[in-house]
């Protein structure tokens, strides 16, 4: 009789339900990483997720933990209220680029400026996914979308916003990183960054955000493998990966805990 062990299975913090995401969309990967980190930290019973408006609008149905649904872009404001009322809870927002970098940019900047002790998972796929592939603040120069059919013209619409760099400049931010989901190696790095962000919150060190470069095969009109190659070859050069702000306290935390 051959004995075997389970080396990989669905994390407990993720509900056993199908998601509405398109085939090959890396939202599913991001959900799984957040769920795995919350399970590993053992804080599922006191974690509250705040869902955005956008493709991830049903995120509260997929995470097996408490959740709330914010108005478009207002997840950081809602998370601020939840965290201040229940400071012993772990509060995170899960937001897309249309939510965080467009209509909700005021909320995220002020949450970071105030150093709110919350964690933000920011999915950057350079397009408005749910509404049909319009140009987002993060759409790359020359990128074709339904509202920039000839490619984004920077003379007319300006340049894409680099949120990680922007928020890293806020004194209240404790940990800000940008990672990508285009390969297994990068997915593993992204998980470490998410873990550091949650640990920073648990230690009460201030605002933490992880930006994840994500794919949108449907609206980019690419196959899932082509979409991941596009992330690597086109998005990563404009949105360099790495940790943009790590305070000394956060660094000490990650050293101590390995």
């Amino acid at each position: 009789m051959v004995e075997e062990k389970v080396v990989y299975q669905r994390p407990d913090a993720l509900c056993d339900v199908p998601t509405h995401y398109c085939p090959g969309c890396t939202h599913g990967v991001a959900h799984r990483l957040v769920a795995e980190v919350i399970d590993e930290l053992g804080v599922r019973g006191r974690t509250i997720g705040v869902s955005p408006v956008g493709c991830a609008v049903f995120a509260y149905q997929y995470f097996d933990m408490d959740g709330a649904e914010a108005a478009h872009g207002r997840a950081p404001a809602m998370a601020t209220g939840i965290k201040r009322v229940m400071p012993d809870h772990v509060v995170f927002t899960y937001q897309g680029d249309g939510d965080l970098a467009a209509i909700g940019i005021a909320e995220i900047i002020h949450a970071a400026t105030r150093g709110e002790n919350i964690t933000t998972i920011f999915i950057n796929n350079a397009i408005y996914g749910m509404t049909g592939g319009q140009m987002a603040p993060t759409t790359l120069p020359g990128q074709r979308t339904t509202s920039s059919p000839s490619g984004r013209d920077v003379e007319l619409t300006g340049y894409p916003i680099r949120m990680a760099e922007l928020l890293a400049g806020m004194p209240g931010a404790a940990y800000v990183a940008r990672q990508s989901l285009h390969s297994v190696k990068e997915i593993n790095r992204a998980k470490r960054a998410i873990a550091t962000a949650f640990k920073a919150q648990l230690a009460g060190l201030g605002f933490s955000m992880v930006e994840l470069l994500s794919s949108c095969p449907t609206n980019w009109k690419l196959t899932p493998p082509e979409a991941l190659a596009w992330v690597e070859q086109v998005m990563v050069p404009y949105y360099p990966l790495g940790e943009y702000k790590v305070t000394d306290e956060v660094r000490a935390l990650t050293r101590k805990q390995g």
Binding site: V2, E3, E4, K5, V6, V7, Y8, Q9, R10, L14, P18, T19, Y21, C22, P23, G24, C25, T26, H27, G28, V29, R32, V184, I187, N188, P217, T223, P224, P225, L228
Partner: protein, 83 residues
Amino acid sequence: MAKGRIEIREDRCKGCTLCALACPQGVIVMASDHVNAKGYYPAMLNDAEGKCTGCAICAVACPDVCITVYRQVPAKTRPSAAV
């Protein structure tokens, strides 16, 4: 004999092919003769030669958490073998 094996939840698979491309052993193939209830060609384990090592790279790549990975426990680390 394969060192590992995977179970793919066919009904949850969306046929994105990312697991098949990620597999270092190339033992995941996309079905071509049938579709699942969603209408996608699901990924399947095709490991007649027993190459699967249970590395779980496919499961990390899968956006829909369809894959459960099992790995054989080497005999020397089994509690029963120590008796």
